[in-house]
């Protein structure tokens, strides 16, 4: 440890090995993944995200929703994700190939959202964002500022951001078969 060059080379190697093994080899293994049919001739999943969902993802990121919500369903035996109805199967790497950024999350102050679009209606999502307490989620932050009043002041109108966010949340689905995770018929 007296020779700086050898010392720094040691530190560099100690850092480069995990980077190569964890990150680079993961990229080599998972990088080629793309949308694929569960069976030959079937539809490709995950499907391409509509433009409005992509805008909604940006709103989701901007509001920091990822600090309370995960988007990953663990396999049966590791937690109760499937029993809780968060998904019909465990999430697999292919489910995320269309997503930029990937928002797996690491904290569940609120429920998992990987398959949220399959279990919540647009009306439910709108109501939850506008007035969580009335939707039975009193601990959820209020997003009433995403909504305004109509010109006559009689009705509540979602802003463009609210429309995009709801479209994004509605698009979150992992209820299809993929080569790595086939749904039971």
């Amino acid at each position: 440890m007296k020779n700086l060059n050898i010392f720094l080379a040691g530190i560099f190697l100690a850092g480069a090995m995990p980077f190569g093994a964890l990150v680079i080899s993961s990229q080599m293994q998972l990088g080629p993944l793309g949308p694929a049919p569960a069976e030959e001739g079937g539809p490709l999943f995950p499907s391409r995200e509509p433009g409005l969902s992509i805008q909604g993802r940006a709103v989701y990121v901007s509001l920091g929703c990822v600090s309370c919500h995960t988007q990953q369903v663990r396999p049966a035996g590791q937690g109760s994700d499937i029993a809780r109805g968060y998904g019909v199967r465990a999430s697999v790497a292919r489910d995320y190939v269309q997503q930029k950024p990937v928002l797996l999350g690491d904290r569940r102050i609120g429920p998992d959202l990987a398959n949220y679009g399959a279990r919540a209606s647009k009306i439910d999502i709108d109501a939850l964002l506008r007035d969580p307490a009335s939707s039975g989620a009193a601990w959820h932050p209020y997003y009433s500022y995403l909504y305004g009043r109509s010109a006559d002041g009689k009705s509540i109108v979602p802003s463009e951001r609210a429309v995009a966010l709801v479209a994004y949340l509605k698009s979150l689905r992992q209820d299809y078969s993929s080569p790595e995770a086939k749904l039971k018929q």
Partner: protein, 481 residues
């Protein structure tokens, strides 16, 4: 150390209040104070935000700021986390590492303006990044939330502000090296590379799909263990023998501790991805590395606790302000290492995954260990650099007790509350409403501890800023040797 306790000054040094500074100290005084003052300001800001976060998290009605988009939970939590890590943690360690290496290698900081420039860039980029988070311009990756244009500026600023320990190591006059130097050089060399690669693969040229999450877990483990962990370990390796006036017990094991810590720390990231849609081999590596990290933790525990346990070391540590904080941190590090090893395994991890438990482990490492060590270091260094005494002994006591109690309370709340939450989450019949209700007690504890920590930090800031302001000895009047 205070006016009431001035006889307790470490051996071989002028007592506090002595304005004589060595040439080395004169040269690093400016950059050191810039980093130190910046770090304390950011710590105060992060502490205020932590109180807001705990109120928002604990409030069933959405909190007092529910209609304010800027202060929505997702903004405040991210801003608080980044301010604590990059504002407090980095600035404070820039200062401490610079001081440690200059002391150990008698390094003269001839181009201190470069470090100052780096500090200015760092803090300007940080300010811009936090404003952007409040404005809703964030990335969605924890501890990389700043918009991507901030990354390169922070990297350049780091090279200017945080690379000096390596220069100091290269220019040391003797062939002899010490454990503190290894850990500081390791931290200063590993961080910029890690940060740049993470920026590239997550924000600039995002890797494919979940590889982003894998790269992110690798980055976070490096940031926490190799920057916070290594830098704080360096300080403990310096202050324990320095203040106690004895050598580290089992010091011959320290090289093993250093290399094994460095070797295993970088592999632990995937332990945070157990159950995630990433390859199983990757998760297994994380588990093994998390368990193997116990090797350096045990050696470091032998080094630290062995030193403190001989010849009334604990009693002396309790009666010395610096060592009281530093030994608190040393105990916290051992606890962190043991918890990290146990909860890397799949069984316990399945329970605590997605709960506040991980935040509790991070709090143990970054606050109870690293921050307490930083406080202890400040009590040792500042009197030497300012030539003044700490203005108030009472504020020192308030600082220690408020931060110690606040740290313990918050860690217990996060760990025990997290375990309880995990047990409930594992039972599909327990609804989220019930879990939120059970968690409200722990949220109250977290709010109280956030206030306690704020009180402690205000006491520390008042004392430190008072000391710097009243410092009457201009650096140029110092002793030159």
């Amino acid at each position: 150390m205070t006016q009431e306790n001035r006889s307790d000054h470490p051996q071989g040094r002028p007592p506090e209040g002595d304005s004589r500074l060595t040439r080395t100290e004169v040269q690093l005084r400016g950059p050191f104070l810039l980093f130190f003052i910046s770090s304390v300001i950011w710590l105060l800001a992060a502490s205020v935000l932590a109180v807001i976060v705990s109120l928002e998290q604990g409030s069933l009605s959405g909190g007092p700021f529910r209609d304010c988009e800027m202060l929505t939970y997702g903004h405040v939590a991210a801003a608080q986390h980044n301010l604590f890590v990059y504002g407090w943690g980095f600035n404070a360690f820039f200062a401490l590492n610079l001081w440690l290496l200059s002391q150990l290698g008698r390094f003269e900081l001839r181009n201190g303006w470069l470090a100052t420039l780096g500090g200015v860039f760092w803090n300007l980029a940080l300010t811009y990044g936090v404003i952007q988070i409040f404005a809703g311009n964030q990335t969605g990756f924890s501890l990389l939330e700043f918009p991507r244009e901030v990354g390169p500026v922070l990297a350049v600023a780091f090279l200017l502000a945080g690379f000096w320990p390596i220069v100091a190591f290269a220019r040391r006059p003797t062939g002899q090296t010490f454990a503190s130097q290894w850990f500081v050089v390791g931290a200063s060399f590993a961080f910029p590379l890690t940060y740049l690669l993470a920026q590239l693969l997550i924000l600039w040229q995002p890797a494919s799909g979940v590889v982003q999450a894998i790269a992110h877990s690798w980055f976070v483990s490096n940031l926490l263990l190799l920057w916070f962990g290594s830098s704080a370990l360096a300080a403990v390796y310096y202050f324990l023998p320095k203040v106690l006036g004895r050598t580290i017990s089992g010091y011959y094991l320290a090289p093993v501790a250093f290399w094994s810590f460095l070797l295993f720390a970088g592999w632990t990231g995937p332990a945070a991805l157990i159950g995630a849609p990433v390859p199983l081999w990757l998760q297994s590596i994380g588990v093994v590395a998390g368990a193997m990290l116990i090797i350096p933790v045990i050696i470091i525990a032998i080094n630290f606790h062995g030193t403190l346990s001989s010849e009334g070391g604990w009693s002396r540590a309790w009666n010395d302000t610096t060592l009281r904080f530093v030994s608190f941190g040393a105990v916290a590090f051992t606890l962190f290492g043991v918890l990290n090893a146990v909860f890397s395994f799949r069984g316990p991890n399945a329970v605590t995954r997605f709960t506040s438990f991980a935040a509790g482990q991070e709090q143990l490492l970054t606050y109870a260990f690293a921050t307490m060590v930083l406080f202890g270091s400040a009590y040792f260094i500042l009197p030497r650099l300012t030539g003044s005494l700490w203005p108030s002994a009472k504020l020192v006591h308030v600082h220690f007790w408020a931060t110690a109690l606040g740290a313990v309370a918050s860690i217990v709340a996060l760990l025990v509350g997290g375990w309880q939450e995990g047990k409930q989450l594992a039972d599909a019949t327990v609804s989220f409403q019930q879990i939120a209700k059970t968690g409200s007690t722990w949220n109250t504890v977290l709010s109280v501890s956030a206030v306690l920590l704020l009180v402690g930090h205000v006491a520390f800031a008042l004392n430190a800023f008072g000391m710097i302001l009243k410092s009457s000895a201009p650096a140029s009047a110092g002793r030159h040797d």
